[in-house]
């Protein structure tokens, strides 16, 4: 049996939105094993992003347990969470979230800076990673000089440069046309199949979710069905 990357039990999360309490997650149980490619689907407002933020250690659940690589995340300090985000997790966002006015190469280097990697190795690893996603000739381009698809490739390179055990993608193709979106999904497939990268992906597009090996649907804060 493959190693467990994520084990979540009875997760609850409530937050206040404009003074109204929103019960975003109402008891989530989820296990993700190494090498899996999971798609989390659901209509907007179903709590997808909230779940993703908690899995990504950007937010903390109110109730329940969450182990990442066997480590009890709920017990960690903010510095330890930062370290986990740095070492274990890679993020890809719908709106790319690249650092503005910062070259592709420097964007990819950023997580390595926080990992304390020296400059030479930072350069080297970032360059390699950008070549891997097909942007070897765009190292010094700024985000606004790149197309949406290219920006998302930079984001993927940045997410993977620290060799995390889990890639979290939140609507990664949401801002792309069909062709670009298809290219990106091919890249994710490759990463999963060839390098055994564990991926958790959020989407509301069925054809995107169909590429994943496993799919769960989130509705009203509960995981409804799994296949």
């Amino acid at each position: 049996m493959a190693r467990e990357i994520i084990r979540i039990e009875g997760l609850h999360k409530t937050y206040a939105l404009d003074g109204v309490e929103v019960h975003a997650l109402r008891g989530i149980d989820l296990i993700l094993e190494q090498g899996e490619y999971l798609a989390i689907m659901g209509p907007s407002g179903s709590g997808k992003s909230t779940l993703m933020n908690i899995i990504g250690c950007l937010d903390v659940a109110d109730e329940g347990r969450y182990w990442l690589n066997g480590q009890d995340v709920m017990q960690l300090s903010s510095d330890q969470l930062a370290e986990i985000r740095n070492r274990e997790l890679g993020f890809v966002f719908q709106n790319f979230n690249l650092l503005a006015r910062t070259s592709a190469l420097e964007n990819v280097e950023t997580p390595l800076i926080y990992a304390g990697v020296n400059k030479q190795e930072r350069r080297h690893r970032s360059q390699q990673m950008l070549e891997r996603v097909g942007l070897g000739d765009r190292l010094y381009h700024l985000p606004n000089q790149l197309s949406g698809g290219q920006q998302q490739r930079v984001a993927i390179a940045r997410a993977l440069v620290t060799q995390p055990s889990l890639l979290l993608a939140d609507e990664p193709t949401g801002n792309m046309d069909t062709a670009t979106s298809a290219e990106l999904l091919v890249l994710l497939d490759e990463l999963n199949q060839e390098q055994g990268l564990t991926i958790a992906l959020i989407t509301h597009e069925p054809d995107v979710a169909a590429r994943a090996k496993r799919m769960v649907i989130l509705r009203d804060g509960r995981l409804e069905s799994s296949s």
Binding site: N53, G56, L58, D59, S78, D79, A82, E83, R85, N86, R87, F91, F93, N97, L98, L99, A100, R101, T102, T110, P111, I113, Y114, A115, G116, N118, K119, R158, T162
Partner: protein
């Protein structure tokens, strides 16, 4: 995160907003420059006062005849003739006294061939020029022997020499004061204006006895100058002189002193003290502008934190710890203030040098004002940078990421 990387990040962030960074720094530049220039002006004034006091003679006491009451009538200060030369001789024996000179003074019309000049002649003893720290520039001063024999010799101040002889050499010439012909032995060095604005060089010095007997026809003296071993001894000496003179003048317990003792060291201290206050005053006024510059930094850093909330969120998602974010913004503030400090120091020094070159204002650049201004600037950077930096580091990653 290592320091080199942090520094690079901060520099890049500042470089992206060059004009904003420069304008922010301007506040600190002006603050530091004005602290340095103002303190230089204050210290210059302090130095000039110290020089003037030095030229007056340090650690000196002056004794003048005082007021006496006879039959209910109190005479004015200096109108009595209570001081005599033997008083001066007796003071010489007090421990802590280094030099004593009795003096008399009279205004005279002095003639040399066709010209004449109205000035003052002072009868003194050779100790006088030591006490006053006033060496002769040319020729020689008269000796104790000259005083003993009431010799017809004199030494001229620079002003008198210039008025009577122009560019010619007066040494060896003879001038006439109140019918008394005196041979010129030497010329005093230039002393300039006194602290009270009178021309110190407009005088003739002659042996005490010569002026007393042959010019003024008196047997009392107008004053005694005393030099003490040091500032600490001065107070004791002062008390000893008072006791001695009361005894010598046979004053009863209920009678007031018929003389006055002036402590020049005390005067020096007071003037130096006020100059110091002046320096601090100027410095602290300038510091206010440095403070305002610091507030400018805080202001711009707060704007920057708000603008870059998204960036902070991204960095946190990529693994930046709170202290990484804190240092990034603090370092930016520190760089701004340090750059302002360095440029401000150069500008302040330049300004002070220009001022001293193109005006009469005395300027003295003190190393401590540079150190103080720079460390104050750095402190301003830390103090005013800390609040925005903490604000940035305390953002919740998820909220920062969602910030539009």
């Amino acid at each position: 995160m290592n320091w080199a990387a942090a520094l690079q990040l901060a520099l890049k962030a500042l470089w992206r907003n060059k004009s904003r960074a420069m304008l922010t720094t301007l506040g600190v530049i002006i603050g530091v420059a004005s602290v340095i220039a103002m303190v230089a002006i204050g210290a210059g004034a302090q130095k000039r006062i110290a020089e003037q006091l030095e030229s007056m003679g340090t650690n000196t006491l002056g004794i003048r005849p005082g007021s006496v009451t006879r039959g209910g009538v109190r005479t004015g200060m200096g109108t009595v003739t209570s001081l005599v030369r033997t008083d001066a001789d007796a003071i010489r024996d007090i421990p802590g006294v280094i030099a004593v000179s009795a003096s008399v003074r009279s205004s005279v019309q002095v003639r040399y061939r066709g010209t004449n000049w109205g000035t003052a002649v002072e009868g003194v003893t050779p100790d006088y020029i030591d006490i006053k720290n006033w060496p002769v520039a040319e020729g020689e001063f008269f000796t104790d022997q000259h005083v003993l024999s009431a010799a017809h010799v004199c030494v001229l101040g620079q002003t008198v020499a210039r008025e009577l002889f122009g560019l010619a050499n007066p040494i060896g010439e003879t001038i006439v004061m109140k019918g008394l012909a005196c041979k010129i032995q030497g010329i005093l060095s230039e002393k300039g204006a006194s602290a009270w604005g009178s021309d110190e060089d407009d005088r003739i010095l002659a042996p005490l006895t010569t002026v007393q007997r042959k010019i003024m026809g008196i047997d009392y003296i107008d004053g005694i100058e005393v030099q003490t071993a040091g500032r600490e001894e001065t107070y004791q000496v002062m008390n000893d002189i008072k006791k001695l003179l009361r005894q010598r003048h046979r004053l009863m317990k209920d009678q007031p002193d018929d003389f006055r003792v002036f402590n020049r060291a005390e005067l020096a201290k007071t003037s130096e003290e006020s100059a110091k206050v002046f320096t601090w005053l100027l410095g602290s006024i300038a510091s206010v502008s440095l403070l305002v510059g610091g507030i400018g930094i805080m202001n711009i850093m707060l704007v920057s934190v708000t603008e870059r909330t998204r960036e902070i969120g991204i960095r946190m998602a990529l693994g930046a710890r709170r202290r990484d974010i804190l240092w990034q913004f603090l370092l930016e503030a520190l760089l701004l203030s340090a750059a302002g400090g360095v440029i401000g120091i150069l500008l302040g020094l330049g300004g002070a040098v220009m001022l001293s070159r193109f005006s009469e204002f005395p300027v003295s650049i003190t190393p401590w004002s540079i150190v103080l201004a720079f460390s104050f600037a750095a402190l301003v950077g830390v103090f005013f940078g800390l609040h925005p930096a903490r604000k940035a580091s305390r953002l919740q990653p998820i909220e920062a990421l969602r910030y539009e």
